[in-house]
Amino acid sequence: MLMPEMSEETEGERVAISARGSLLQVLREDGTLDPDKNPDIEDLDLLRAFRQMVETRFLDERLTRLQRQGRIGFHVGCLGEEAAIIGSALALQTEDWIFPCYREFGAALLRGMPYQSFIDNLYGNANDTAKGRQMPDHYTCRDAHWVSISSPVGTQINQATGFAWASKLKGETAVTLVYFGDGATSSNDFHSGLNFAGVFKAPVVFLCRNNGWAISVPYESQTASPTIAHKGQAYGVHAVRVDGNDLFAVYRAVRDAADRARAGHGPTLVEALTYRMGGHSTSDDPGAYRDAHELEPWQQRDPVERVRHYLMDHDMWTAADDAALDAELEKRFLAAVEAAENTPQPEVDTMFDDVYEKLPWHLREQREQVRRGRRPFKGGG
């Protein structure tokens, strides 16, 4: 029922990205919820999600600043995509699993990744769960059922299918959700991930954040398909397209998809239509390839503001709450940054761990070489 009308599109037509069309929306322009589609999110959950959206945005701003100051090396944010990220994570159960892309730290925090752990990862210090081996924003957190993040685009997609397929084989009810962008739909692993999921009816939710851009490449140059949801057809995979800036709609679509999966009805591709309001990462300057005017309509659809208005309209949030939250965020952030900056980098020895379970002879030798230190002179090189 949430299927976009596939037959509507005519041959060769390129549909420009728009928040209109056959799109699932719940939070209406007038600030009310469509009663037919209202997913009835519990108040506490809604507030939790909202606070996480605000924190996510706060962190994006502050981490970008840290990067500019040279205190961390890199950050990849999610400005404008908070609803797609938080709404989807909120719709899952604790037992469910997430295969992340690189932009969803808000979802990881919502699912219980320790805050300090996230900040430590940005510094790649000795407390980083990834032991300082990956770039910032590539943390890992088994306890939150959050799989290790990979930079190569798309590789997590068929892994998620396999993970979900395994749940099914084991007779477990956990659902797997995998995040990726519009660019990732061009990857090899999107293709096999959706194809295998269709054939084996794996309980997986494919959550595509269609934010209009893959670095500098716009949607129209990424694919001639009118929508990402259309791609589900190629694999016999159920597909829905939602307003990705509508927390309620994203929640609804993902909850339904997870329900379907849990009930044994197989995978769903959810296209969350949104917009990357910032640069691709701190290394990117979008001014080089897109017109700032393009952002304007999306500013009107700001996912955080929409929820804030809803909450205020329903007396669940006040300006005083905003101030309190700001102070709390600031405090937590400063403490965590301080702790991270006071933590040394990983010991050199750790470089050789975790290649294999046990250290083989050649790595033992190589570690020995490093341990002997910077011979025969100090401080050089």
Partner: protein, 321 residues
């Protein structure tokens, strides 16, 4: 060897419910080389799964399964077709433990037939161990006989690290050997000295081991006494055994089917020069496939068969400063 591999899979699948098989045509047919024959019937379609035609999909899904606590044994129909999965193998599978600080591990095996000599030509004959050895994080093994094949496949399945398991298809049916029923393991750390000798150390593996042995027999007629080592585990290899042998013989010949340049032979020669330089009485020699794609009609000229190993052995022994 096919039967030994089949036994190993059956034994292990009985022992451990977490083990599942996936690959192209491995179900009803039992694989194009019949290694999984009967297993689909015996264990059902939830343990033995025919997949769509995507090696990347097979490995990507197997990684996901392994992360979820299963122990997948994936089959790639020919190693010539493993390259669409190269990214998943070297960038994901090999790096999962490391990049997650040990948080996520993948206990799984990638089985694939390798090598020439069955008139498979250009695209059914490659022997691509080096590109997997070079990218840190994988174990790479290649048994030469049925006994080892069974014991090493069991070891690979139980190994906590991902293992690329290369099966020399030229000896799938040819190589005989007593294979005991029941459980035994051939550990993945040890090479095997299959012929003791004192004139020269010959290192080989997979199908080429038999060529090395044949050359050794012929060398005897020339008064040359070869020590032949079956490497078995290609990486991390059993350097100790090779070094001990070379310290003893003072000479080294390394044989493999894969192209010469940046192949495993170069690594072995270099390791020996690093560990036993002053014991070497002659330059180590490589006898390998040539640096061309694999040819069809001329495959017996391409392969480093006995007739190419023998002169190398004799030359090495005769060489002197």
């Amino acid at each position: 060897m096919v039967q030994a591999l089949n036994d190993a899979l059956r034994d292990e699948m009985k022992r451990d419910q977490r083990i599942v098989l996936l690959g192209e045509d491995i179900g009803t047919v039992g694989g194009v080389f019949r290694v999984t024959k009967g297993l689909h019937e015996e264990f059902g379609e939830n343990r033995v799964m025919d997949t769509p035609l995507s090696e990347g999909g097979i490995i990507g899904c197997a990684i996901g399964m392994a992360l979820n606590g299963l122990v997948p044994v994936a089959e790639i129909q020919f190693s010539d077709f493993i390259f669409p999965a190269y990214d998943q193998i070297v960038n994901e599978l090999a790096k999962f433990r490391y990049r997650s600080g040990g948080d996520f591990v993948t206990n799984m095996v990638v089985r694939t037939p390798v090598g020439g000599g069955i008139r498979g030509g250009h695209y059914h004959s490659q022997h691509p161990e080096a590109p997997f050895i070079h990218m840190a994080g994988l174990k790479v093994v290649c048994p030469s006989n049925p006994y080892d094949a069974k014991g090493m496949l069991k070891a690979a399945i139980r190994d906590p690290d991902p293992v690329v398991f290369l099966e020399p298809k030229r000896v799938y049916r040819a190589a005989k050997g007593d294979v005991p029923d029941g459980d035994y393991i051939v550990p993945l750390e040890k090479a095997s000295i299959v012929r003791a000798g004192k004139s020269v150390t010959v290192v080989a593996y997979g199908a080429m081991l038999y060529e090395a042995l044949d050359a050794a027999t012929r060398a005897e007629e020339h008064g040359v006494d070869c020590e032949v080592i079956d490497l078995r585990t290609l990486w991390p290899l059993d350097l100790e055994t090779i070094v001990a042998s070379v310290k003893h013989t003072g000479r080294l010949v390394v044989v493999h089917e894969a192209p010469r340049t940046c192949g495993l032979a170069a690594e072995i020669v270099t390791l020996i020069t690093e560990k036993a330089f002053y014991y070497l009485q002659a330059a180590p020699v490589r006898v390998t496939g040539f640096d061309t794609p694999f040819p069809y009609a001329l495959e017996m000229e391409y392969l480093p068969l006995s007739h190419r190993i023998l002169p190398a052995v004799l030359d090495t022994v005769r060489a002197s400063p």
